[in-house]
Amino acid sequence: MVWIEEEKFYAKGYNPGMRRILSEIGKRFSHFIEETGKLSIILIQAIKGIFQPPLRLQENLRQMEEVGANSLPVTIITGAFTGMVLALQSFVAFKRFNAESLVGTVVALSITRELGPVLTGLVVGARAGSSMAAELGTMRVTEQIDALSTLAVNPIEYLISPRLLAGFIMLPLLTILADMVGIIGGWFVSVCILGANSVVYIRRTFDLLEYQDIYSGLVKAAVFGFIISGVGCYEGFYAEGGAEGVGKATTGAVVKAYILIIISNYILTALFF
């Protein structure tokens, strides 16, 4: 049946291969539109849920602990070593034109404006985003999300709202910490290992650092936190197909969050200029 139809098209000059490609593109496009719609609905409802009673303080705190407190070690290590390597690299580079005294400035600016928020976002994305997708995905495939609905509790408000709020609040806080340990790490390498003068280094660090640098980094972090929770919850919430589906959702959450963070980072930086 099908090949007769294609033969007819072929005779008229249509290319059956082309037709298949076009229908595939169409399918992908409509799928994309559908996903975007579903994501928007979920996010709007989840944001509403943050402000509507019941406020579920305990659940909010639990998620903040999960996203924030439990990400402390990995954030501290990432921040400290990034600051240290930055000091080392820029020292080597600046030595070539005798500008070693600027190392402190470079470290402080790169960390607060760029590396603090972005690296924290990526690290927490991998940690908390994937765990949200896995947890919600498992809840979906074992019907726990349906069970919430049958107990007359809106699963979006119960599960997604606290996670969204936690990402939005905890990411900037973690970034402040990453900024601090990053700058300390840079100071440690410069002063204790490379032998720079501590007083000069500290003055250089804070002389050129403006509020705007820190604050733009924190706004970025809040956006990244929103992305991580939003994508992680969305992927998990609509997972289907058992263990395999949960695996796919988890991978999808990390990959999509990474891509969105990297792209939105550029856009936000451009906006702040």
């Binding site: 349906d146 069970a147 049958t150 007359a152």
Partner: protein, 260 residues
Amino acid sequence: MIKLIEVHKIFGSNQVLRGVNLHIHRGESMVVIGQSGCGKSVLLKHVIGLLRPDKGQVFIDGQDLLSCSEKKLYEIRKKFGMLFQGAALFDSMTVGGNVGFGLREHTLFSQEEIKKRVQEKLKILGLSGIEGLKPNEISGGMKKRVGLARAIAMEPEILLYDEPTTGLDPIMADVINDLIVRLKGTFQVTSLTITHDMKSAYKIADRIAMLYDGRIIEIGTPDEIQKTKNLIVQQFITGSARGPITEREEMNGIKNEIVG
């Protein structure tokens, strides 16, 4: 109490429900039987509004689930308790947390009061003293009973059972059947059960309906169903491998081969 009128549901190209009509009276225990994958679970999810019909209507106490607002839908759901096939216990909470979940969310009872009610419900189901355990620390049969305790914690008017005896040993299956019958006696609930376990169906049903090919093809008391003249129903309730159901499946297989 529960009324389904011409309910249609399509998933992709698969027409699961093709016009289901079902009327369940107050206080009645209705059992829907049918093969695996015939749409029984889909039917059940329509009753509590987890799925929306593509065509048709669902009424609960005269309230149309399709046209009511989301807020109203959640209000209506408070009348329900549902036991899931895999129990669907929240594994982040203890047994006590699971059973008391509805009470914590929807009532202003004190911690003490909730604890008392949880213990009371667990006792009805013969599960005293396990409030502190996590769902992964208890057996499958216990999970089902905890699921049942969670479903009745808010003392609902309607109970939905999704294959309550599937995956349990025969003795535990009968324990669950007994509990279902007892709950009906004590709380005067209306219930809708879906199952393919005929022994269970005969025991708990006031009426049995058979879902086949997306429609209810037969409905009657357990006695009437046992004496049915309908060959399809006969094949299903006697559980034989030969009969109109399997013949039709074979025909479909041959048809697919020719077309495909």
